[in-house]
């Protein structure tokens, strides 16, 4: 069954892509910027989803996709003009479709009411369209009668009894083959329904020099005698209907005899013609006049196909695991290259020797490979941004506010691991901005603002990090209220002097929630403190700035990747450790008078007249039993995410380096005070410190007892 699962997986992956296409196209239509290509693209996407869903028997999905597709077809044919209202209906339908896909994938079921409502809306649009069509031109519109196509498969299985004879003329377009359908398979399926014969018409096959290898020149006439009924025959062609000319007519008597011999004779003739062509000397071929220009329509089709070909060839789907493996291996390559270079130097090779020069070149090459491999994982944030319009629509709908969304910099690239974890905090920030930031339309009008609020989400690269700004043009933060709540909840003392900025950032404090009643949206039991924590877990920071009456801007900055980290390599005891650069404020060499004992076995260090706890990291991690003399060591001043500063005492600083992050949890488990591990140039493992935990832990232990809670590990293990 795993092959089937693979295909299913591919189907859902493709669905995701198609949904993206649908959403993008519909948004363009909403903005009135849609050309025929866009509409076609949306139609094709929905059609493909329907096709795939049919193959997997997702009947609900098929049924809905069909209604959706039908409406889109009307748009495509120009029978239905899309204005703001229609676009809204289509967008809602796209949401329902996405949910149905998710449901088919094993997600939660879809609200039947919503589905019905959307279906109804679509049907209503079509109804309007029908009126127009009747009044306007009547060019074969009747042929596009959709009701019979929405067949249920059960009905088909038990079709009318008694054999009927059909004459099916099937002329595929090139597009049919381009979509990986196979004429032969369809014909075989036809024949499987009953008895019949097939004749191939090769009359349209051009001479060899004019032959487009990807063209479609053959057509077939199938004479079929079956008990399955016409619907069953039509069903076979259901998914290729648009890519072929198909006529199915009932005939009174089987006309096998007339079709059969013609087929063979024609093929024989064609083969003879082809052989003659091939036999022509090359010189003659060259001399033949250029082939006649194909008719306009034909040429357009060819160009389109060529473009499609390029598009598919320019990207491939690769499992993330493989890329990760590659990244691991390249990391290893870098390490080994460094080791080799060191050994060459130890062996006494001169710096200008050919070997040393070779190593330099190798080093450049490996760095380049490393950069390129990291770039494979980089993806535009577009995939996250694409989910936002729907979110904004939904939240705006629930809150009764009118909100527009503007996104910028959606092609800003960032590592896939960051992308994956970006969605939640971003979602929460946008919910918050709409729920708390944007005012209701009447209040906006009263304030002299347009009734529709605007949420702007922008991504950009800034000094080796990605910065994402979520801004709204709402009321801004009501500072007195925020202050009162913070005081009321005991988060700040009543008389505290806070700057505007500090007041704004109070909303990130745990236990702070401005809405009296927990609202359905931003509420959900989590506040901005959770957003802040999840961003910090990614090594990022978030802040807010606000202007009363004008709106607020949330700014989050994240590392471009979670696979590498800029760190300072230090030594504690015999071990090398890495301190993330983002946590470091400054480094200093303590003087004799700076350190003073505090309490039983704590020490404080005086940094420009403020006293900070001094943590001997080697002791803290159990590398050494007794603290070293601080004067012999180096102090690294760090700031934890809650803004508290501490001083970490190490033996020495080795330097700053970019390190590849390796999981310690995969094979071992969490180690208190350690965030992850990395592999150094000498091939040894070094631990990356979790500064927050290290400082918090040290504080906790000192409060709890003199004896560090040495090992929760042992306790759990034994």
């Amino acid at each position: 069954m795993s092959a089937m699962d693979d295909i299913r997986q591919t189907f859902f992956e493709e669905c995701a892509e198609q949904m993206t296409e649908v959403e993008t196209g519909l948004l363009a239509m909403e903005a009135g910027a849609a050309d025929a290509d866009t509409v076609n693209a949306v139609f094709r996407a929905v059609h493909s989803i329907k096709g795939g869903a049919g193959a997997f028997n997702f009947t609900e999905l098929v049924a809905f996709a069909h209604v959706f597709e039908t409406t889109l077809d009307a748009v495509r044919a120009g029978r239905l003009t899309v204005g703001a209202e229609q676009a809204a209906v289509l967008l809602r339908a796209a949401d329902v479709l996405a949910d149905l896909v998710a449901a088919a994938h094993g997600g939660a079921g879809v609200d039947a009411e919503r589905r019905e409502a959307s279906s109804g809306e679509l049907a209503k649009l079509l109804g309007e369209e029908g009126g127009v069509a009747d009044a306007g031109e009547g060019d074969g519109m009747e042929g596009l009668d959709f009701t019979p196509v929405a067949v249920s498969f059960e009905d088909l299985a038990g079709g009318p009894a008694g054999a009927q004879d059909f004459r099916i003329v099937f002329r595929p377009h090139a597009g049919l083959y381009a979509k990986a359908n196979e004429a032969l398979r369809l014909i075989r399926e036809c024949l499987a329904l009953g008895e019949g014969s097939v004749a191939c018409d090769t009359g349209a096959v051009p001479t060899l020099d004019a032959l487009d290898p990807e063209g479609a020149y053959l057509s077939w006439t199938i004479v079929l005698s079956t008990t399955a009924g016409e619907a069953a025959v039509r069903e076979i062609f259901e998914f290729v209907e648009l890519d072929c000319d198909l006529t199915i007519e009932t005939v009174s008597a089987p006309s096998t005899a007339e079709a059969q011999p013609g087929g063979d004779a024609d093929i024989a003739a064609l083969l003879a013609r082809m052989q003659a062509e091939i036999a022509q000397p090359a010189a003659e071929m060259d001399a033949t006049p250029p082939q006649p220009v194909p008719p306009e329509a034909e040429r357009r089709k060819t160009t389109r196909r060529a473009e499609d070909g390029v598009a598919t060839a320019s990207s491939i789907r690769v499992e993330l695991e493989r890329v990760d493996r590659l990244i691991d291996l390249v990391g290893e390559l870098v390490i080994h290259q460094v080791m080799l270079a060191q050994r060459a130097a130890q062996a006494g090779l001169a710096a200008r020797s050919e070997v040393a020069v070779g190593f330099d070149e190798l080093e450049q090459l490996t760095r380049e490979i490393q950069d390129s491999v990291m770039a494979i994982r980089a993806q535009p944030v577009k995939s996250v941004f694409q989910k936002l319009p729907r979110l904004v629509r939904e939240v705006a709908g629930v809150t009764g506010k009118s909100v527009g969304l503007v996104t910028e910099g959606e092609y800003t690239e960032v590592d896939k691991t960051v992308i994956e974890r970006l969605s939640d905090p971003l979602t929460h920030m946008i919910r918050n901005a709409i729920d708390h930031g944007i005012e209701t339309p009447d209040r906006r009008i009263a304030a002299g603002k347009p009734a529709e609020g605007t949420i702007r989400v922008a991504a950009m690269h800034r000094s080796g990090r990605i910065v994402i700004e979520v801004s709204d043009d709402g009321a801004g933060i009501d500072r007195p209220v925020v202050r009162d709540i913070a005081v009321g909840k005991g988060l700040i003392p009543a008389g505290a002097q806070l700057s505007d900025d500090e007041t704004d950032n109070l909303i990130f404090l745990p236990g702070f929630s401005t809405k009296e009643a927990v609202s359905e949206l931003s509420g959900r039991g989590v506040g901005m403190d959770v957003v802040k924590r999840s961003i910090q877990a990614l090594g990022g920071r978030v802040s807010i700035s606000s202007q009363p009456g004008k709106g607020s801007v949330f700014t989050m900055s994240l590392p471009l990747t979670l696979a590498v980290l800029d760190g300072m390599v230090v030594t504690a005891g015999d071990s090398a450790l890495v301190v993330p650069i983002t946590a470091i404020v400054e480094t200093l060499k303590p003087r004799r008078g700076d350190v003073s004992s505090f309490g039983r076995d704590n020490a404080l260090i005086n940094v420009r007249d403020s006293f900070l706890p001094l943590i001997d990291v080697a002791c803290e991690l159990g590398y050494r039993a007794t603290p070293t003399d601080p004067v012999l060591g180096v102090v690294v001043l760090v700031e934890s995410d809650n803004g508290q500063r501490s001083a970490l005492l190490f033996d020495a600083i080795q330097g700053q380096r970019q390190v590849v992050i390796k999981s310690l949890e995969a094979n071992y488990g969490r180690v208190p005070g350690v965030a992850a591990a990395t592999i150094m140039g000498d091939g040894r493992v070094a631990l990356i410190l979790d500064v927050d935990m290290l400082t918090a832990q040290s504080r906790f232990e000192q409060i709890a007892s003199g004896q560090p809670a040495f090992n929760s590990f042992v306790q759990a293990a034994e």
Binding site: D328, L329, G331, E332, I335, S575, E620, L621, G622, Y623, K662, S663, L664, E665, A666, N667, Y668, G669, R670, V671, P672, G673, V674, A677, I679, G683, R684, V685, A686, L687, F710, N711, S712, F713, V714, A716, A717, E718
Partner: protein, 155 residues
């Protein structure tokens, strides 16, 4: 893929035998990924004494367990013959530091005698049977019993 000892008595299985101090032990070969020479490990803070630390196994951070200490014997003093047996349980890789690898044994399940009833932690927790071979006594250990439970929880 656990070295479960409830198999058909006539099935042959291959075991890797190694030495810790004066005693010989073996584990099922299917749990062993590779055997590599001793390299000094980076100590892990707050780890049990028998966790030697972590080493770099071609880009993977591999915890190394001092199998002697883990089974309540003496700490293994690394020598030139010391090796790290890389074992895999489920999705978790770990290294076992032993004094030396001696043999690959092929035995039938019949040849594996039940663990003698002695009240030692070693016998209770780790040993799943003993094998008599050319006058030597080799204890079969269950690899899944070696990593402490928290390792599993975290993995």
């Amino acid at each position: 893929m656990s070295s479960d000892d409830m198999r058909d008595a006539t099935t042959k299985r291959e075991l890797i035998a190694f030495r810790i101090g004066e005693q010989e032990f073996c584990v099922d070969i299917t749990t062993v990924r590779e055997i590599r020479g001793f390299v000094p490990a980076t100590p892990l803070p707050h780890a049990p004494a028998y966790v030697n630390g972590v080493i770099n196994l071609r880009g993977t951070v591999l915890p190394v367990i001092d199998l002697g200490l883990r089974m309540g014997l003496a700490r293994i003093e690394p020598t030139a013959r010391s090796v790290i047996v890389v074992a895999k349980m489920e999705h978790q890789l770990f290294g076992l530091l032993v004094d030396a690898v001696s043999d690959i044994l092929t035995v039938t399940d019949e040849a594996i005698q039940p663990t003698p009833n002695v009240a030692s932690e070693l016998a209770q927790s780790f040993v799943r049977g003993v094998i008599a071979l050319e006058g030597r006594m080799i204890s079969l250990i269950a690899a899944e019993a070696i990593p402490p439970r928290q390792l599993d929880m975290a993995a």
